[in-house]
Symmetry: C2
Subunit: 315 residues, 2 copies
């Protein structure tokens, strides 16, 4: 293909953000869009918090905390400590600089600015040249059905440390939420859509559950990257969730999950023996090293996937 391809990456938090950063490093400016899950969003202290959006933006801006993957590099916690002294809730680790993002987002939302506009404005301030778009401008809230009842996602994820046994998920509000215009136009303009190595159940499914999104995506070339490597989730509770839901913790479970939607699947060299099964579902495969420990790893994986795309989908 002569012109540089337009790429749309679908992403949750840390894993997807790292991969998006790889694409950001290797693609020319303005040919990358990252669509981010907002099902994890919640309100605390009256503030609108969008954890996945912030993780993606902080990562692309190069200001993320390299140790955790979320939050900000050089962050302080003076406010959180003072909340603790007032005996307020401190389970969500609000950093001082991170708080500014939530405060300003809340202020602009209250002025009537849609989340997608706020996000692009923040990206400009942070010097990000890719488009980062929330999946929707309406509230969608992921709820986790567990043996201990229905629990809002962040409470399950952070406060309860993913301990309750999962039975399923509810994307509350999804039926009334519309995909953001920016997401729809990115899908239309994309040459390739890459589903990042994010949790399919709670990070990608909310995006795919928005009306029209799966249908529109299915007409495109879609590549998914496995977040399961060697029988483990690289990050987050996916392996535990799979176990509790009776799903094998294998890369091919992820491929199976996306069956019918994806044309290609990227899995780790550690799982190469699964590639043959996946290819039987009419899904082509790329087996490579997918673990991203350094910034260079991210760029390397993105470059390999771009080469693979050029090879397999040319003409």
């Amino acid at each position: 293909m002569s012109k540089k391809p337009e790429i749309l990456v679908l992403s949750g938090g840390v894993g997807g953000a790292k991969f998006a950063d790889g694409m950001y490093q290797v693609l020319p400016p303005d040919s990358l869009t990252v669509c981010v899950n907002t099902g994890d969003d919640f309100e605390a202290f009256g503030l609108a918090i969008s954890p996945d959006l912030d993780t993606v933006c902080y990562t692309l801006a190069g200001i993320a905390n390299p140790k955790t993957g979320w939050g900000l590099h050089g962050e302080t916690y003076h406010t959180l400590e003072a909340i603790g002294r007032l005996e307020g809730p401190t389970w969500f680790k609000l950093g001082d600089m991170d708080l500014a993002t939530h405060l300003e987002r809340t202020r602009l939302l209250r002025e009537g600015m849609p989340l997608s506009k706020i996000t692009s404005r923040f990206c400009e301030n942070w010097g990000i040249h890719a488009r980062v778009v929330p999946m929707t401008n309406q509230p969608v809230r992921t709820l986790v059905r567990t043996h201990s009842g229905i629990i809002p996602f962040q409470e399950y994820f952070v406060k309860l440390n993913c301990e309750p046994v999962v039975e399923g998920f509810i994307f509350s509000g999804i039926e009334n939420a519309e995909p953001s215009e920016e997401l729809l136009s990115s899908i239309d303009q994309a040459d390739f859509i890459v589903i990042g190595p994010s949790n399919p159940l709670v990070s990608i499914d909310p995006i795919l559950s928005l009306s029209d999104v799966s249908e529109r995506i299915s007409h495109k070339n879609v590549i998914a990257i496995s977040p399961i490597v060697g029988g483990r989730a690289i990050k987050g509770p996916l392996a535990k969730m799979y176990g509790e839901l009776g799903i094998e913790t294998r890369a091919r479970s992820v491929a199976s999950h996306y069956r019918g939607l994806i044309d290609a699947f990227v899995l780790d060299s550690l799982d190469s023996e699964e590639a043959e099964d996946i290819r039987r579902w009419d899904i082509i495969t790329l087996v490579t090293d997918t673990i991203m420990k350094t910034r260079l790893d991210r760029a390397h994986l993105a470059g390999e996937i771009l080469d693979f795309i050029r090879r397999e989908f040319s003409g």
Copy 2:
């Protein structure tokens, strides 16, 4: 009088807080209540901010910034700086630790806890043994009528640095606001009510404008302290406001403002020649040094006023 008197201090921000701290130092625990103006309250970034309440509490807790009189000692501004990088509004100087107060207050208000209950809870956390009570649990917003239009108080005070020329004040919502139960019971139980050296127009008038409050107070022994010393306001825009409203910037203007309500007036030695005029209005006077530069000055003034009270109102 044999038992220790119950004292109720009416206060705005810095000046009233310093005097309240003086009383706090010299009175036994549990015999001091400070009722604080909430007309300066406002919302920013979705947070409920009560500047005068915070100033009084921080001062009594001994954690206030000694240089400014407001804000916290050892405060940092990491959030505010990050808001600035996002091109958000930074005119209200939100400190990191101070933010915790606003966040936790907002969270508890949203849970349905009244402001008076939140304030007593915070006081407990901060180790304050006096009762600090907001004048009301309902929203009252002081608006400043100026040559440049009607301006919310904090915007006039902080953002515009009191520059617009004042024509008058509106206590928006006062007609629907009820004095807090804690204020009413403090008035009933008080042996003496002291109006601190706060701005009568914007700090004390909101309290006195609540239904029933002036009437109930008028049955008590009431002492007011002049915030005007030597033709100047010790702090804040009172002198400028008086000038713009055609009122003489003299201590006796303050006494005249409270005429009919107060029994006694405390004015600075610098203004001793005004005492005679004031006494003609059936107001007894105490002339003493009222400027509080140190913590000891506060206790000294409070002690002098207590002695004066014992002398003049005994039996």
